[in-house]
């Protein structure tokens, strides 16, 4: 099936539409979740994943055959796909769920991605996705997908170097207290951290330029449903209650040290002799 002469890379980038991080989050009156009637945009970690994929193409040129983005979400998620296409992805898959459906959980998402990978005639060599989504902060999808596929995994990547000839990826990971370098065999799942290093310089995801936004309108978007690819996205977890953290209570001013001591005593704070 796969071309044997020249190795060509196929990259898959799963992305998620989330409440924009600049938006102030409010719990809904029923306390079942948050107010979703606010501005959404691409999960910032996924934006970095898209940027990483495009940079790999900029480095390797024609060796990258395709960059495909995929999202699982309500009809409005199509906007997020268009943004990724405008940034430079080639094509997209939208697994559409009804507007009213509950948000899929990481395992459901990982199973969907597995099914999609298996549907790709050309195969998938590298999956790059954000290390977590800023709405549920689960941070599990990449690892679950690697487990389901039995593929290499490199999480929290800050630097990605891909060698299509050798079929390996060299990844630098952000870990506690330093950096860790990994060498992974293809196929590989990479999850991206916030910092992205290229040629020793941290870079930010690019803006979609106007000509590219126009071009993105003509790029193909394949629409599927969970039923069509045979996965069940029904949540396994039940959300019991969502509440806001307790409000901070303002402090008071005291006029003298004596008053401070009196107030501390009142509050039940007692000194200890050394």
């Amino acid at each position: 099936m796969r071309p044997s002469a020249v190795r060509l890379l196929n990259i898959l980038v799963p992305i998620k539409r989330a409440v924009d991080y600049a938006v102030k989050i409010r719990v809904n009156p029923e306390q079942t979740g948050i107010d979703l009637n606010v501005k959404h945009s691409m999960n910032p970690f996924d934006e970095i994943a898209v940027e990483e994929a495009i940079r790999i193409r900029e480095r390797l040129k024609d060796a990258v055959k395709s960059i495909k983005v995929v999202t699982i979400g309500p009809p409005k998620s199509a906007e997020t796909l268009r943004t990724a296409l405008a940034m430079g992805a080639d094509s997209a898959i939208h697994v559409e769920i009804p507007e009213s459906a509950p948000a899929p959980e990481p395992l459901g998402v990982a199973k969907t991605l597995k099914a999609l990978i298996e549907r790709q005639k050309e195969g998938v060599d590298v999956v790059i996705l954000g290390k977590q989504a800023i709405d549920d902060d689960a941070g599990q999808t990449g690892q679950m997908l690697a487990g389901l596929m039995g593929w290499s995994q490199a999480t929290f990547a800050s630097k990605v170097e891909v060698d299509p000839e050798q079929k390996i990826a060299n990844i630098t990971r952000e870990i506690d207290g330093g950096l860790e370098e990994l060498r992974c065999k293809f196929p590989v799942i990479i999850t991206t951290d916030l910092r992205q290093v290229h040629l020793h310089v941290s870079t930010k995801p690019r803006y979609a330029s106007l000509p590219n936004i126009m071009k993105a309108k003509k790029k193909p978007v394949e629409k599927l449903t969970a039923a069509e690819i045979g996965v069940d996205l029904t949540p396994r977890l039940e959300t019991i209650k969502v509440t806001e953290p307790p409000k901070r209570v303002g402090g008071g001013k005291v006029a003298s040290v004596d008053e401070l001591l009196a107030r501390l005593k009142e509050a039940g704070v007692t000194g200890k002799r050394a």
Binding site: D20, A22, S41, M42, A86, S209, L210, P211, M214
Partner: protein
């Protein structure tokens, strides 16, 4: 190039350009006795003074004596921070009796030295008067103390889905009373008009200590002379604004912005026309940034919105903002506009970006709003805020640069950058001239009155939105006739016969 000298009107050529030092012989300096009296009006923490009885550390009083650019240095030995209008009234009454000059000061973010004492005046800071008095979410009318910070007011009314009718880079520090006293313009003027329209009423302490209470919440009130208009842009020379009633518009439900790269300045005007026509009522800002300013922004970590390849040889950039009630409707209009711009036979733009998220929306604005701070980091800026016909924006900037080159003052040894940015929609150009190693008299002499002459020659205004203060007092005549200035003097005389209220400012 501008042909300046052969077209300058004779009146300007014959007039002598000189900075006249205003006389303060009629005023008294604040002494210990005065402080004792102020202590009977104000709490001890509301009085700052370097005089022995209070002996505030110099560091604490310094911020009141220097503007944020570090260009104007005041001489005030005392600062008062009243909390109520009544206290302001009593202070002013006493100062009138003792003939002590008063400089009202808001957030001290002014750019023309209007809030800095010239000699021995006392500084009256409104910063401690910072309570919102009322807000009516139905009419959108906000009544607040003069010392409320613009951004705090925005935050106060945001939960009620209203926004302040004005917005400017200094919003985190500037105060509404100062905004009104200087008739600040800013980024939303194109959409919501000037403060002369949105301010419904004012509470002002007059130079004899009388409280003029016109804190009306009526949208329509044609009963005689509209006195409040005199204090909007009066720069504290006719009285101290202590309270404000202002009409706030409902918050737009959908906002978008685009950042466009233009091959040439000549394209700005045709672009402005097309954008205005196609976006119609949803256009809320049309801002201009020249290449020098854009490159400077990049050097200081703003953006980059475009890659170096995309920006290419673009000579200038335009930021367009839309505010409307329906995101789908607004996006459709924007997309149609962009499509027509990109597919035109002779495109007016090279490229551009459309914000894809609130975060990108903010970053695009940050590039425009952050320029003021970048300018500050580059050196000491001479800032000229002028109104000129749109077609002359770039010519004015170029003329100033040419002049600096011809005088041998252009380069890292003197003037390192000359740049322009501003509000195309309002015909308002911010001309920034950066003196890399600080302000020097010969640099100022090369710039002034040259710039004022070009502006006057173009029938522009020497101060579009920054006011006159002490910086442009002697340039007022470039934009106002002798008759106008004469009547300004008469008005000043009526309100402030003792000349104690912000003396030496505005009126030459």
């Amino acid at each position: 190039m501008l042909r300046l000298h052969n077209s300058i009107r004779p009146a300007f050529r014959s007039r002598r350009w000189a900075h006249n030092i205003p006389s303060f012989s009629h005023l008294n300096t604040v002494n210990e006795e005065d402080l004792a009296h102020f202590s009977s009006i104000l709490a001890p923490t509301s009085i700052l003074s370097t005089l022995p009885s209070i002996s505030t550390p110099a560091d604490d009083i310094a911020p009141y004596n220097v503007d944020w650019m570090g260009k104007y240095h005041g001489q005030a030995n005392s600062v008062l921070r009243p909390r109520t209008t009544q206290q302001v009234s009593e202070i002013v009454k006493y100062c009138a009796q003792r003939k002590i000059g008063i400089v009202p000061q808001g957030g001290n973010t002014g750019l023309v030295g209007g809030g800095i004492s010239l000699q021995k005046e006392i500084v009256l800071s409104l910063g401690a008067m910072n309570n919102v008095r009322s807000f009516d979410p139905v009419s959108g009318i906000l009544v607040a103390d003069a010392g409320c910070i613009l951004q705090s007011l925005s935050e106060h009314i945001a939960p009620h889905n209203h926004i302040m009718p004005l917005d400017l880079g200094a919003k985190g520090s500037c105060q509404i009373g100062g905004n009104i006293s200087t008739n600040a313009g800013g980024l939303r003027l194109l959409r919501y008009g000037s403060l002369h329209g949105t301010v419904l009423g004012l509470e002002v302490v007059l130079p004899d200590g009388t409280i003029l209470d016109q804190l009306s919440t009526l949208r329509k009130d044609n009963t005689g002379y509209d006195l409040k208009q005199l204090f909007i842009g009066g720069e504290g020379t006719l009285g101290i604004v202590t309270g404000v009633s202002i009409l706030t518009p409902p918050a737009p439900q959908a906002t978008n912005n685009i950042f466009l790269a233009l091959p040439h300045f000549d394209n700005v005007l045709p672009l402005f026309q097309i954008v205005k026509r196609q976006l119609g009522e949803i256009m809320s800002a049309f801002e201009y940034i020249d290449r020098t300013a854009y490159d400077m922004g990049l050097q200081h970590g703003l953006g980059p919105l475009l890659s170096a390849d995309e920006a290419g040889g673009s000579q200038c950039f335009v930021l367009v903002e839309t505010s409307g009630g329906n995101q789908d409707h607004d996006l459709e209009k924007l997309n149609n506009l962009l499509e027509s711009l990109l597919t035109a036979d002779e495109p007016l733009i090279n490229t551009g970006v459309l914000s894809q998220s609130p975060t990108q929306f903010n970053s695009i604005w940050a590039l425009r709003e952050g320029l003021t701070e970048c300018v500050q980091k580059e050196g000491k800026p001479y800032k000229y805020d002028v109104s000129v016909p749109l077609a002359d924006f770039q010519k004015v900037v170029d003329a100033v640069r040419e002049r600096m080159i011809s005088k041998g003052l252009y380069g890292d040894h003197a003037i390192s950058k000359v740049m322009g940015y501003g509000h195309v929609g309002d015909g308002n150009l911010h001309l920034n001239v950066i003196a890399k190693h600080g302000y020097r008299p010969e640099l100022e002499a090369a710039l002034e009155p040259f710039i004022y002459e070009i502006v006057a020659d173009r029938k522009g205004s020497v101060s579009a939105e920054h006011g006159i203060g002490s910086m442009k007092r002697d340039a007022l005549h470039y934009s106002k006739s002798d008759v106008s200035i004469d009547w300004m003097r008469k008005i000043k005389q009526v309100f402030d016969p003792l000349n104690i209220m912000n003396p030496g400012k505005v009126i030459p």
